[in-house]
Amino acid sequence: MNGNVMGFLGACLPEIVVGAGICVVLMAGVFVKDGRHLLYLLAMSCLVAAAWVTGSGDPAATVLMPGGAFIQDPLTRFLKLFVFAVVALVFVYSRAYIGERKLAAAEFYALSLFALLGILVMISSASFLVMYLGLETLSLALYAMVAFERDSPVGAEAAMKYFVLGAIASGCLLYGVSLLYGVTGSILFSDIAAALQPGAAGQAGALVGLAFVLVGIAFKFGAVPFHMWVPDVYQGAPTCVSLFVATAPEVAAFALTLRILVDALTPIDMDWQLVLSVLAILSLGIGNLVAIMQKNIKRMLAYSTIAHVGFILLGFLAVQGGGLQAALYYTIIYVLMAAGAFGVVLFLAADGVDADQLDDFRGLNRRSPWFALMMLIVMFSMIGVPPFAGFYAKWWILSALLESGQAMLATAAVIFSVIGAFYYLRIVHLMYFDEGAGQPSVSAPMDFRVMLSVNALALLGLGLFPAGLLELCARVLG
């Protein structure tokens, strides 16, 4: 009994720490006047503490909570540590932005930590119920964050759209889960996988359930045709929230897809792979083509996200070729790239004015050669040009596709990435080839500058010495 309780606590200690951190941040927000810096420190130390309890202990151990609904294994530890790092990065990037705009700091940190809690629960879930709890915690926090600037009509519109569509998607997911439960009699992923073995009764019901579950997954990822919320939310939300939405929840979406499609529904993979390949190709196509037309950098990055999601989904179609590991690697690299890109957008924002038009990048090389170079690295990494990490991500996905005999999908993917190169190149061309006039000079706190440089240089470093992270990804999912 005692062992069970300890096992229980041990498995979800990071979540408990984050939950406690949320309470502390909220209380501090209420009782401390003008405690912006204190709140920042509290939120950061909450992340550090949670990362510490996640990282300590046996890295290879697999702990399954009593009842089998919650799991802690090398993969979850790896994903959680990465998410902590990403959220910390978001906090560093956002601090000055929140201060300049006089946004409510306590609420921002508390909601971010709430969203983080949802992500952690999703990563560790081993049953549909826990997965759904995590998903809703994350989503509700995000809806509120998008509407953070209460008086901004764009923000309110974005939040409303996100909320309505998100509620429908959640409903679809829940309905699909209930059908799967009806067919298999369980909500545990492992039991569902066992009950759906070929020849088992009720396959037709499971297929209907699958269709609804896929809608939920595609919505969370922002895959076409369930992508409509992505550009509006990225554009309408304050940039620090766009940064958050574009990064950490993608890790959750990866975990969601991995848990549901691979852990639970592998027995009917023939059925979901076809659907997923259509979603992936549509995302690559629509994302890359529509991004070309954008004038707003946040909107452009939204469509770029959609295109990257297409690539990540392709990984799930090449399970035999190591596609899952490739998708994991792609997700991590994508999150780093998105963080870098939004970091530069935040970096350019000055005096309470968002620099969210493409034209704001004009002549950046003259104003700040170093950060123009950082943005250049991020952009070429997004295109997938070596020696930057984005190339290895694309290469691994292609490699996995070819190994599982999907040469056509691989060829389509590379052709769309050539189309995609165009709009990333435009950023480089605006920064370097145009002189620009009238843009304000840029300034940012030291910690922001350092972290942004580290973020971009990490993409170069991971490209020059790719072995470590590639092997890590192969191992935690091995």
Binding site: F380, W395, A407, A410, T411, V428, H429, L470
Partner: protein
Amino acid sequence: MGLLSLLIALPIGGGLLVLASSRGMKAGGFRADRWLALLASLATFVASLPLWTGFDRTTWHMQFVERQPWVPTFNVEYFLGVDGFSMPLILLTTFLTPLVIIAGWETVKLRPAQYFAAFLILEGLMIGVFAALDAFLFYVFWEAMLIPMFVIIGVWGGERRIYATVKFFLYTFLGSVLMLVALIYLYLQADSYSILDFHSLPLSLAEQVWIFLALLVAFAVKVPMWPVHTWLPDAHVEAPTGGSVILAAILLKVGGYGFIRFSLPVTPDAAGLLAPLMIALSLVAVVYIGLVALVQQDLKKLIAYSSVAHMGFVTLGIFLAWGILSRTGELPGVAMGITGGMVQMVSHGFVSGALFLCVGVLYDRMHTREIAAYGGVANTMPRFAAFMVLFAMANSGLPGTSGFVGEFLVILASYQASFWYAFLAATTLVLGAAYTLWMVKRVVFGPVTNERVAALRDLNAREFLVLGLVAAAVMLLGLWPAPLVDVLSASVDNLASHIIQSKL
């Protein structure tokens, strides 16, 4: 660190140093950046000389090999080495880069540190392309080259530079990604990214044809072959002088090098099957593009089209092999074609580079590339005119210049394959002479046509040095090509005997 690693690291490190040194530099003060850039490029050239002196000419095996695991999970290696094909191209790169830096010494006004740094980084990456023996590493260098070139054309180019550079990037990027798919496929078959393992990998004809076509897109765009050459005139015209020189002299060579390193040995049967197509495309480039060059009004465009025509000779020489084999069955003929292609590549590197440098000299003074704006330049710039005429002669293949050797070898080899190949290929001697000499006549000779030409100053010492060095190389290679042919011979013979063995 091995010699080849040093050759890659030295210019890249130098380039980063140049970037760093530009901070806080005052206008009009001592310009540390350009001296640093010159030093780095000269050091690279000096460091590359042991490649020539220490090269074993009797073997086709890779030399100066460095081999270390890079990504063990995927059998990717840091695997460098050179043979007779890559060594001359590396020397060409290290020889031309200092000249490009000297050529931009005073003429580059806009952010010169970034200009020099871009060329140095580009140099390191190009050496990496030629030295890489691991396909993955090769691809990394191959693609990374695009970034500095994109910036060079885009920042320091002419009026339509943005159109030109985006077109350049997208064309070459499209070719490259298809090559990536082919390389991954080869890796999955061979379980290794080593190019040497690819050479001995058995493949079915269908596999070979697909791989050949995927590689063809990548290499044909770079060469460039007709009909995917259309990015080249735009890129050349808009690029700054140094960019044009490097583009014509070295970047185009990676395409021909790719055919020799990948297409021929990895997919010999597909190459044999599609050789008539390749020869046809090459001859179209030679004849049709030669005619196109004839009507150009823009100096740089004319040289750009002439580059396409000359590179047609390279691909012609490389793909003649199967025609010769089916008619005479003789290996020396095959080897002659490939040798001709290689010599033509090196020679074209010097000659086209030199012509672009000449145009740069004129452009710096007159700020126009229109042929019609010139006339009678020889009267005011006699020394320049002497160089220009020499390079024009080399471009039209006059015996005694480097241009003659490669063209002659290829025409001779093509005669062994078919009379008509030789006939069509030989038209270049007429066409090449026509468009080059007519251009020289209109620009250099005749009476002085306008006041601006009358006010021209002749070459200064810096320009004289640059053109003089290239002129020496052109003459040397033309009068005494034996050292280059010696270096090539073992590798060429090995390639010839490799490709006649079917992989089926």
